[in-house]
Amino acid sequence: MKLHPKIALWAAFLLPVCIVLLAIISVFVPQSVVRPQHDFLYALSSNSYPISVSYRVEQGVLVRDQYQLPESADTTLKESNAEPRLYIYRVASGESIPVAYEDVQKNGFFLNPGISPDGYEVAYNRGPDNFFGLFFGGYDYDSRALFIQSRFFSKKIVLTRTTGSYGYEYPQFLGWLQ
């Protein structure tokens, strides 16, 4: 049996077209398939590397590290190092509720910075495959967004804007509330 060259030409053309069509169709799959059961805590900072105050999680407990900026530090640096703000993301309503560090301490939340019990994780960009995205522009990175992901599905959540529509903000996922 010999493949006719014309059929091969059509197949060569239709194969990539089918993949593009599948990619288009996949956009219309609703994000409601991603339904995590747990809320999570995150911090929003105007600086990607906050110096004056930063948060981390140690054995499920939120820890606040504070550093004193030197007197000589210029005003711009001091302003850009404003204290990161804490938020609880309510998965049911899709809202971000501001919360104070003291309230987090008082409520005794146990924070899980890894995968939630129902199999979701929070990422800073859509992954896990962004190798070619760097070259072709599909790399979805938004400084005001986080991605809730299971193994095969992803949902982008745009976070509360607090420094104006053009201000850059850097989210830091701190953990699922358990």
């Binding site: 194969l15 990539p16 996949s26 070619f132 995205g133 070259f135 072709f136 522009g137 599905f153």
Partner: protein, 333 residues
């Protein structure tokens, strides 16, 4: 048989479908050692073995012009206004496009046509980037798709008008870029996450290249067949190889299927009498054998012994493949 009756006989056979263009051109190539193509200039460039001195000099000349345009733009970038930036890059490339078309239509200086078109191919994408940058659209995620689509349209139009090899080749490369860009654009908006999506795309694109290589066998684009096959084979084997991963994240299915595919490609090569299908999968098998040896045996027998055994296996494999090539490829050709 005189020329007239010979041509009439060819025409009649072609109409009846008893002889293909590839068979005629192959016969002519065998007899005259000249590559046959729709154009006198493009074919010599794409058949790298037959590159002459003037082609090499012309190629260097075009490269110098291209670098000159780049330097001109970047050295005076701040002094140039938006209009001037667009004019120097996009305007220059479009004038090359028109000049190449003009030369084609006039049928004079056909050799220069190819080189001017090549200059268009190099400068036009830069011109599009400058255009998008002027309107602050460069950072948008749809920009790569849009730019590559625009460039592709120009290649397609030129290709349809002239049936030259260059627009086909550059159009193919740009279509490949467009495919990755547009699927990235939609994928980044999709709810789905497909691990190794890029490698799967590469896999399908490579299969499309192999089909295309086979498909162009009976067309005027025959001189590009070998290049298309090479791209397809390298892409296909690389995708499967990479999908296999490395211990502890290896995927047994792809590791298992790699040698089967490679041997299958060699079998297809024998069937089609196509050397590319032998050489590239053979290298693939050698790389695969080395990888598997280090992946699974370096812990148990140690690195030095693994190196020795892998080296011996490669020597044995190499000798067998050379004998195999002599028997099935060189003998038949």
């Amino acid at each position: 048989m005189d020329t007239k009756s010979l041509l009439a006989a060819i025409e009649e056979s072609a109409r009846a479908g008893s002889v293909s263009l590839a068979e005629i051109t192959n016969a002519y190539e065998r007899a005259s050692a000249v590559t046959v193509s729709s154009s006198p200039d493009h074919a010599s460039f794409f058949s790298f073995k037959k590159l002459d001195v003037s082609s090499v000099v012309s190629f260097i000349g075009i490269g110098i012009v291209f670098i000159g345009v780049l330097f001109l733009v970047f050295q005076h970038w701040d002094e140039l206004g938006t209009f001037s930036r667009i004019l120097i890059t996009l305007g220059f490339s479009l004038s090359c496009y028109i000049a190449a078309l003009g030369l084609y239509v006039s049928r004079r200086f056909e050799y220069a046509e190819f080189w001017i078109y090549l200059l268009f191919c190099l400068v036009f994408p830069i011109g599009m980037v400058v255009l998008f940058d002027s309107f602050s659209l460069l950072s948008a995620d749809y920009t790569p798709s849009l730019i590559s689509f625009c460039v592709l349209v120009f290649h397609i139009l030129y290709g349809f008008a002239t049936k030259r090899l260059a627009p086909f080749l550059f159009g193919l490369l740009m279509a490949t870029y467009f495919f990755f860009a547009i699927t990235d654009f939609f994928y980044s908006r999709s709810t789905f996450i497909i691990p190794d999506f890029s490698l799967y795309r590469l896999l399908f694109v490579s299969i499309a290249y192999l089909l295309l290589g086979y498909g162009v066998s009976h067309t005027v684009y025959l001189p590009l067949r070998s290049f298309i096959y090479k791209m397809g084979l390298i892409g296909l084997l690389f995708a499967i190889f990479a999908l296999g991963g490395y211990r502890p994240d290896q995927v047994i299915f792809w590791e298992f299927i790699f040698p089967i595919i490679a041997v299958g490609l060699i079998a297809i090569g024998i069937f089609m009498k196509e050397q590319n299908f032998f050489v590239i999968p053979s290298f693939g098998i050698m790389i695969f054998v080395s990888k598997i040896s280090f992946e699974y045996f370096s812990d148990s027998v140690g690195w030095p012994l693994t190196l020795i055994f892998t080296g011996l296996i490669l020597v044995g494999l190499g000798i067998s493949l050379i004998r195999f090539r002599k028997e099935y490829f060189l003998a038949s050709s």
